[in-house]
Subunit: 218 residues, 2 copies
DNA sequence: TAAAATTGTTAGGTTAGTCTAATTGTTATA
DNA sequence: TATAACAATTAGACTAACCTAACAATTTTA
């Protein structure tokens, strides 16, 4: 049985090696920074995870998940996203509130609970942030979606997910009347700073490039 | 913020000081045994809990919860029983399966989650084992119920709760077609070992004194 | 009431997960 | 290619939660 902490390291590694299309490795400092611990701490844990055959790793080398490690990590991601969906769909949580609580709930050990929760929710495919929920077999539909910042000026698209899951960002998005499935039209763009004018259900608003890079569209 | 372990000590103390009508104190060995740790370990924790003003305790003396400690403990009990109810009512768990998972879920920190869960469940008053669920104000309806073993021969009663929450006991009870609200009639009794013959919906069965002592009735 | 039994504490160790400071290995750059 | 910058590891410490073994206090009981 994995500890709370070990699970978090595996989940972090899955995140770091899934972010960018063909990135499959992570570094010690990168991992430590992501988890908010010191590199020395991460090194200790990496030795343990290697010992348990959950990662591939050599001293001074890059880190990648083993098949077992990846499966564990995907299982945790599945739980995380199912719980987020539960909180959002059944308990009236807003999409900026679910993540924090799901960070705790994802560590509950009970295969039956996960399956029953999945069933209770009607086998959802995406969580409140538009992220894919891995299925019971541990299959994760990996899609590298385009961001709003990549949409051509004048073109239209539809928001399908968000990249940033912080409460501050999510609240800002909601405040703009923007949500999953909202149609967006890119009206104009500033070459200077990449900010853009977008149209959401009739209203035109101005958003920064940083903002646009965190809205995933189709 | 209390740790997982500190919460378990407080919960154990609440249990031990609530069991019997006017018992309000517990001993170190008793506590350690209940938690499955060594007395030396419990002593360490007792010092810490005293330091945090969660218990009243003097070296070589008896232990009791302070008001703050009791409130924390009741809050955990509330979460435990709400989660058991959720698993039973919404996720098709059986009453012998809920406790184990609730032992984990009771440590999730989120006031909003507890309140929303309570609302989602329709503000239940009892859990699947017939135990009272403390309300949002932390009020716990304390009732010292009679056990089946105390019912006079020939008299009838109704099962309202169980005292033992182990899977083995609960499965046995279910197997006997016995559950919350089932009417029971005490047919006869053996003076020798306290075993009794009881009638449940027409069928007569024989149960041990130990069994009867764990069925709470009204 | 003194000895025995029971109950509880202390001392000293272990492991997991964290830290800082010092050091070593790798990569980039002048 | 030598050196500077960066990335990663090691050594040594700390805390929380546990342990065993030894000891001390309290309670029981003969
Ligand atoms: Mn999340
Ligand atoms: Mn999400
Ligand atoms: Mn329970
Ligand atoms: Mn219960």
């Amino acid at each position: 049985m994995l500890s709370f902490t070990e699970e978090n390291y595996l989940k972090a590694l899955l995140h770091l090696t899934m972010e960018i299309e063909d990135k499959v490795e992570a570094g010690t400092n990168e991992l430590a920074f992501y988890l908010g611990v010191k590199p020395a701490t991460a090194t200790d844990m990496l030795k343990k995870l290697k010992e348990k055959k959950l990662i591939q790793y050599e001293k001074y080398g890059k880190i990648s998940l083993s098949d077992t490690g990846r499966n564990k990590a995907v299982e945790i991601l599945r739980k995380h996203r199912l719980w987020e969906t539960f909180l959002y769909e059944k308990l009236e949580f807003t999409w900026d509130e679910v993540h924090e609580v799901a960070e705790q709930l994802e560590h509950i050990h009970s295969p039956k609970l996960v399956d029953k929760l999945d069933k209770f929710l009607g086998y959802p495919e995406v969580d409140p942030h538009g992220d894919c929920i891995p299925n019971a077999k541990g299959e994760l539909k990996q899609s590298f979606k385009k961001t709003l910042s990549e949409v051509e000026t004048g073109a239209s698209c539809k928001m399908v997910a968000v990249k940033d899951n912080t409460a501050a960002f999510l609240q800002y998005v909601s405040q703009l009347n923007l949500g999953i499935d909202t149609p967006i039209k890119v009206v104009s763009r500033q070459a200077y700073d990449g900010s853009m004018e977008i149209m959401i259900s009739g209203a035109t608003i101005n958003v920064s490039q940083k903002f646009a890079e965190n809205i995933l569209i189709v």
